[in-house]
């Protein structure tokens, strides 16, 4: 019965091959995103990055006796906006709980989090992997406090604790176990990050630890019930998320195929070695003893408030993508590339406005992004402004310059700046469309190369050589189409 079922099922390209057949990997992610806010979730100290140790700490963050938390209304708004961006259910009543554990960077002895009643319920994120669209379920989103930071490399016998991060607002976004490959997991985090950045609810800066993921991985034979999962803590880059999943899935398959059993445990990803390993210190099963925080009343707001926030949401990547395809005639691929970052999409829209969208997309993606990548620059730091690139596209559109000259012009604007139209005028880069001038150049070349003319008459593909010569003698400024026409007429081919 079972073998029949497997035989009927088409083999998924996501399956991992083992010694005993195919395996399916099941992945769920808990993403922690720092809320974009000026001050902390429950105190008035700054969330600024890179400050001197313990300078962004108030007596509340340090959990001095008698201090009481007061919630930051903007952090609540940011969580609601994020929920709306994930097309999720917004809970107008939610509850803060204490999650109890001891660690030197957690001065309260508990983290204020949300357990049974989170601020945001079920939602979804659409991802595209290898051209295939997939909807990933979001289980919930809740608000919680970040912990401080421990430094272990300052002293041989001591750890140094900095509480600047302590109390900063985090959104924990929990996915359903809907992901089936490392690629899908990476696409999900990339998309989630993009949505957060569009909304302005988190900067998603993974280098600063402002977005990090706990990755739950288990494996099973296709069609079987779920296997035992392991949780890989605090993976802080999209590349590492992929590597951690690949390694962990293979490790679990090897253990099961050797007759072993997977222990449910917390693991960490060692980026240097590219492997996951057990966190021995967490062996003792956690018992967080959650209970409602008696210092905080339930978090309540009205549906009107949610609607008000909703009415002010910016256009999100999925809608922008659809609009770019619809109104600029872009390919799905180009649209994806352009909408991934809001700054890129805005730049493109300024270049494309009132112009040929496809030509604009081509210049933004191939020339501009190519050049920015080469120099490791962000779009915000582009030496070529959208107005300048727009002017270059105009000059191509009006046939003032050829595509080849346009690349030279782009280079000049990139390194020297200036008004593209002026540069073209001043440096005599205008395309020669004056047929008289082109004819003159053609005549000169025909007169100088009588034997080539004979060859070309017998073999019309020789035309390319003549075109090259004419372009050379006109400094690349002759309109290629005009050159072609005149040459064909003069050579009689």
């Amino acid at each position: 019965m079972n073998s029949q079922k497997v035989a009927e099922k088409p083999k998924s390209k996501n399956f991992i091959e083992g010694a005993t057949g195919d395996w399916e990997v099941i992945i769920g992610l808990e993403v922690h995103a720092q809320v974009a806010s000026n001050s902390k979730l429950f105190s008035g100290s700054s969330t600024g990055f890179g400050a001197p140790p313990n300078s962004h700490v108030s007596l509340v963050d340090a959990a001095m006796p008698g201090m009481l938390p007061v919630i930051n209304r903007e952090c609540v708004a940011q969580a609601i906006r994020t929920g709306l961006g994930l097309k999720a259910q917004i809970n107008t009543k939610s509850v803060f709980d204490r999650k109890n554990y001891f660690y030197p960077d957690l001065p309260q002895g508990y983290q204020i989090s949300q357990y049974k009643q989170p601020i945001v319920g079920e939602g979804e994120v659409e991802i595209t992997v290898d051209g295939e669209m997939l909807t990933v379920g979001v289980e919930r989103l809740h608000l919680e406090q970040d912990a401080g930071k421990s430094l272990h490399d300052q002293h041989p016998d001591y750890s140094y604790v900095d509480l600047n991060r302590s109390g900063v607002a985090l959104m924990e976004i929990v996915s359903k176990p809907d992901l089936r490959s490392s690629k899908q997991a990476q696409a999900y985090v990339t998309k989630l990050r993009s949505i957060l950045r569009y909304l302005g609810t988190s900067d998603g800066d993974m280098d600063k630890g402002n977005l990090r993921a706990d990755v739950n991985v288990s494996v099973r034979k296709p069609g079987d019930k779920l296997g035992t999962r392991c949780e890989i803590k605090n993976v802080n880059s999209i590349r590492f998320i992929g590597q951690a999943i690949e390694y962990e899935a293979r490790r679990q398959i090897d253990i099961i195929e050797d007759g072993g059993k997977i222990d449910q445990e917390t693991r960490l990803f060692d980026a240097a070695k590219g492997e996951t390993r057990s966190m021995r210190s967490k062996e003792e099963a956690h018992d967080y003893r959650y209970f409602p925080d008696p210092d905080l009343l339930p978090l309540e707001f009205s549906n009107d408030y949610v609607e008000e926030l909703k009415s002010k949401l910016p256009e999100l990547p999925d809608e922008k993508r659809a609009r770019f395809i619809e109104s600029f005639g872009l390919s799905a691929y180009d649209a994806d590339v352009l909408v991934a970052e809001r700054a890129s999409a805005d730049y493109f829209e300024k270049v494309a406005g009132g112009r040929d969208g496809k030509v604009a997309a081509n210049w933004v993606i191939n020339e501009l992004f190519g050049r920015l990548n080469k120099e490791g620059k962000a779009i915000e730091d582009s030496p070529v402004s959208s107005a300048q690139l727009g002017a270059i596209v105009d000059l191509i559109g009006s046939n003032a310059i050829s595509g080849k000259i346009a690349k030279d012009l782009f280079e000049i604007v990139w390194t020297e700046g200036g008004d593209p139209a002026e540069i073209v005028d001043k440096r005599g880069m205008k395309q020669v469309t004056d047929t008289g001038a082109i004819e003159k150049a053609v005549d000169a070349i025909i007169a100088a190369n009588p034997e080539k003319v004979e060859q070309a008459k017998a073999k019309p593909s020789m035309l390319g050589w003549f075109v090259g010569q004419v372009m050379k003698s006109t400094g690349g400024k002759a309109n290629p189409a005009a050159v072609n026409d005149i040459l064909k007429a003069k050579l009689g081919i």
């Binding site: 806010s37 000026n38 001050s39 105190s43 008035g44 100290s45 700054s46 001197p52 140790p53 313990n54 300078s55 962004h56 700490v57 108030s58 007596l59 509340v60 963050d61 340090a62 007061v70 919630i71 930051n72 209304r73 903007e74 952090c75 609540v76 109890n100 001891f102 660690y103 030197p104 421990s150 430094l151 272990h152 300052q154 002293h155 016998d157 001591y158 750890s159 140094y160 604790v161 900095d162 509480l163 960490l268 966190m279 210190s281 018992d287 003893r289 409602p292 905080l296 009343l297 339930p298 978090l299 309540e300």
Partner: protein, 95 residues
């Protein structure tokens, strides 16, 4: 409800409270007594009662998102048994 010694020890460990063998024995009794007393409340059917979160009608107070606090690192570490450059210094914790 009977709380055994293992449970007492686990609770003490979670709370980071050191207890002697004699204390553990006494606590077994004490905790069992407390739980028995609380268990009496289970006899009341509360399935249709909202959990009470406040005694007077009051809403959760909120603050605006402005920086009004912090920049007092010396005061923050003033009571620390050990500090350096305004870091708390604690026995080594390594994963």
């Amino acid at each position: 409800m009977q709380v055994d010694e293992a449970t007492v020890r686990r609770i003490a460990r979670l709370a980071r409270i050191k207890i002697s063998d004699a204390e553990a024995k006494g606590l077994e009794k004490e905790l069992s007594g407390i739980l028995d007393w609380v268990a009496q409340l289970d006899e009341v059917d509360t399935s249709n009662v909202e959990p009470m979160t406040r005694v007077v009608a009051q809403k959760l107070k909120m603050r605006d998102d402005v920086v009004t606090d912090g920049e007092i690192a010396e005061q923050i570490v003033a009571n620390a048994p050990l500090a350096e450059d305004n870091f708390f210094v604690v026995p080594k914790v390594v994963e």
